[in-house]
């Protein structure tokens, strides 16, 4: 090990120790400091086990949690960032916390959720074995720039990458990356067959309507959600690659799906979630896991943490789902609509740095599909913006209650009992969960 690398590790470890001595959780800080001091600090770590990275706009945290659960059930010690600290500095902190004084990271597998824009910088320094690519949607435009810029960044990385690439064949933004390195034979597409809720026309805005290779407009047989569906280019035949995994018979009422001739029961039933499981299944298949583990995981494992998480409070059932972009929000609205009963919606919208300061994306959410929504409560730093947006979709403004403070919002939401849904954006989701728990405690304390 070079002197510089040794110093990097020693200094990093020293930092973590000091922070712990003063009773602080090390968190992201050590990675940030190391990165500032030495841009190549990731090279100081010695990782000898396979690294599996998960990236894409939506579903990274869920897929990473599922894969970690499967890998941990089957093959021993894994290191993972299930809490979503997915930037270069976060991953650096994670490795620092898990290495010895020589920078050796001892584990059987590293499963790392990785921000799309950080894939090139991290895996030019750490040897990646498998990259799982879920989808590319519009997300936080003021922070990440246009989707195309992000795709090109990942493409550039893939041009020289020779490891496994697990790709969503039904998202043209992702499928195109299977051609980034024509010499790489380790390309594994997954696809999901038409499900009952698929449509012939798109029903939400999306990117990627033109062939990235010849600019011809893509032709869709059907849309599963957003721009995800069975597509092909009539001119250059882009979109006709044979999938390695084909998910069949998605049954939302069971709920279940079929893969390689076996039926898997699942814990949730949205199409968006089925795509996440398709990615999980495909990556797990590359590592040859016992099917029993997969059955058990798909049927019972819950990520919670604000991802389709359910709370039962005073006779009401509340499902919370994170939505950072229109596609995520539209998905939750669909899940909500599939419930044949009256319901109330809480929408928590913040405009902090990590959310992107621009909240205009809420205008790409399709609220006109509302069914049996009896009341809407809005909260967060942009509670009024989302209230106006819902109003202008034609919803009765007298049924919208604005409560910027989350504790007030909970009091309001639980005035009535019944079925409830909450959508919260990125920095809103943890405060929302905390406010729900505080409300529950208050209710229980008051009998």
């Amino acid at each position: 090990m070079s002197v510089k690398n040794s110093l990097t590790i020693w200094f990093g470890k020293f930092m973590v120790k000091c922070l712990r001595l003063i009773g602080r959780d090390a968190g992201n800080a050590p990675g940030l400091v190391l990165w500032t001091l030495n841009k190549d600090c990731l090279k100081a770590f010695k990782v000898e086990c396979p690294i599996i990275a998960v990236t894409g706009t939506n579903g990274k945290t869920s897929v990473t949690n599922y894969l970690s659960h499967i890998f941990a059930s089957g093959k021993g010690k894994i290191i993972t960032n299930t809490q979503g600290n997915n930037l270069d500095t976060g991953i650096c902190s994670l490795l620092l916390a898990n290495c010895d004084m020589k920078g050796r990271v001892k584990a059987d597998y590293l499963v790392l959720e990785t921000d799309e824009s950080h894939v090139p910088v991290i895996y030019s320094k750490l040897k990646l074995e498998t990259l799982v690519l879920l989808n590319f949607f519009r997300d936080q435009l003021d922070r990440n720039g246009e989707v195309e810029t992000l795709i090109l960044k990942v493409k550039k990385f893939l041009e020289t990458f020779e490891g496994n690439v697990v790709l969503n064949a039904d998202d043209p933004n992702v499928a195109r990356l299977g051609r980034a390195n024509p010499n790489n034979k380790n390309i594994f597409y997954f696809s999901v067959e038409r499900y009952s809720g698929a449509t012939d026309e798109p029903y939400e805005v999306g990117e990627g309507k033109f062939c990235p290779f010849c600019d011809t407009e893509l032709v869709y047989d059907y849309y599963q959600y957003s721009h995800v569906g069975r597509f092909h280019c009539p001119k250059c035949r882009f979109g006709e690659d044979k999938p390695f995994t084909l998910i069949k018979n998605v049954d939302l009422s069971a709920p279940s799906f079929e893969a390689d001739g076996e039926t898997y029961k699942t814990a949730h039933n949205s199409i968006y979630y089925m795509y996440n499981l398709a990615a999980v299944y495909t990556a797990a298949k590359l590592y040859d896991f016992d099917k029993k583990i997969l059955h058990d995981t798909f049927e019972h494992f819950e990520v919670n943490n604000g991802r389709l998480e359910t709370f039962n409070i005073a006779g009401s059932e509340l499902m919370v789902n994170l939505a950072k972009n229109p596609v995520g929000a539209n998905m939750t609205l669909r899940v909500m609509n599939e419930q044949e009963c009256e319901k109330e919606l809480l929408f928590v919208l913040n405009d902090n740095l990590a959310d992107g300061h621009d909240v205009s994306w809420i205008w790409d959410i399709n609220f006109s599909i509302f069914r049996d929504v009896t009341r809407v409560v809005t909260s967060g730093t942009r509670a009024y913006d989302i209230a106006i947006r819902i109003k202008c979709s034609g919803y009765d403004p007298d049924k919208i209650v604005v409560r910027p403070d989350l504790d007030d919002a909970m009091e309001e939401l639980f005035k009535n009992s019944g079925r409830k849904f909450a959508i919260a954006n990125y920095t809103a989701v943890q405060p929302t969960r905390a406010a729900i728990k505080r409300y529950k405690e208050r209710r229980e304390a008051n009998g």
Partner: protein
């Protein structure tokens, strides 16, 4: 039932920052007054676009790639848009739409994209690609002689110059150029601006100004839109103006 026609230019390409919301809001606010807003679309390659009967022509903003894709088709619409504008139709343009109707757009690679040339202003990208005007913005405009604060969000690299009649004075944010005193371009029947949000979402008087203008033009009598429930909008403005102008 009274009726207004809006021509939405390239809705499939120019819809980057929720800009299609402006059309939804106009439709909604027209509906509250018993006016049906009929929306037609121009898509690349269309040959039967009716510019003549449009009361409002609307262009949103798009990503660079999409703006390049439609630039040639837009030039084919030059005569139609010019005639409609000279005939008094209302032009509402956001961001990319704003830039494309000026003289030219010089992009960050030094490439010049010809605009429609309807107006004198022109736009040059900042030489540093990473430097963009991004953030919340508040400007002060005039509606029928009265001051009105317009709240939105700007995100543009282009620096627009040569504007003689601006949309508003900048109270917070950048405007036409980095730290500019002015934002956008305005005439009696034109609003061109960098403001997303979408523009009309937090500025209901602006929507009503456009509706009044179009209805007055159609009927030949001054039209005053009936008051509607704008409680959420008013409260939203109060909160944001305090936050954005208080911060300054």
């Amino acid at each position: 039932m009274a009726e207004l026609k809006l021509l939405h230019m390239y809705p499939n390409l120019l819809d980057l920052y929720g800009d299609s919301g402006n059309v939804e809001i106009l439709k909604y606010r027209c509906g509250l007054r018993g006016i049906e807003l009929k929306v037609s679309r121009r898509i690349i390659g269309d040959t039967d676009t009716d510019f003549e009967s449009a009361d409002i022509i609307y262009l949103g903003g798009g990503a660079d790639l999409e703006q390049q894709m439609l630039a040639d088709d837009l030039l084919k619409c030059a005569d139609g848009i010019r005639a409609a504008y000279e005939n008094g139709a209302f032009l509402l343009m956001i961001c990319g739409g704003y830039q494309l109707l000026g003289q030219y757009y010089l992009d960050s690679n030094g490439e010049k994209i010809k605009g429609l040339g309807l107006f004198d202003y022109y736009t040059e990208a900042s030489s540093d690609k990473r430097k963009r005007c991004i953030g919340n913005i508040v400007i002060e405009t005039k509606i029928d002689g009265e001051s009105y604060k317009v709240i939105g969000f700007e995100n543009h690299g282009g620096q627009t110059k040569g504007v003689k009649t601006e949309f508003g004075k900048v109270l917070a944010g950048n405007g036409n150029e980095f730290s500019s005193a002015i934002e956008g371009y305005m005439e009696e029947n034109v609003i061109a601006t960098y403001l997303h949000g979408p523009l009309l979402s937090k500025n209901p008087k602006l929507s009503d100004r456009i509706i009044s203008y179009c209805m007055s033009r159609q009927t030949g009598e001054k039209y005053t839109p009936a008051a509607v429930n704008d409680k959420l909008e008013e409260e939203c403005r109060e909160v944001l103006l305090e936050r954005l102008l208080g911060e300054k």
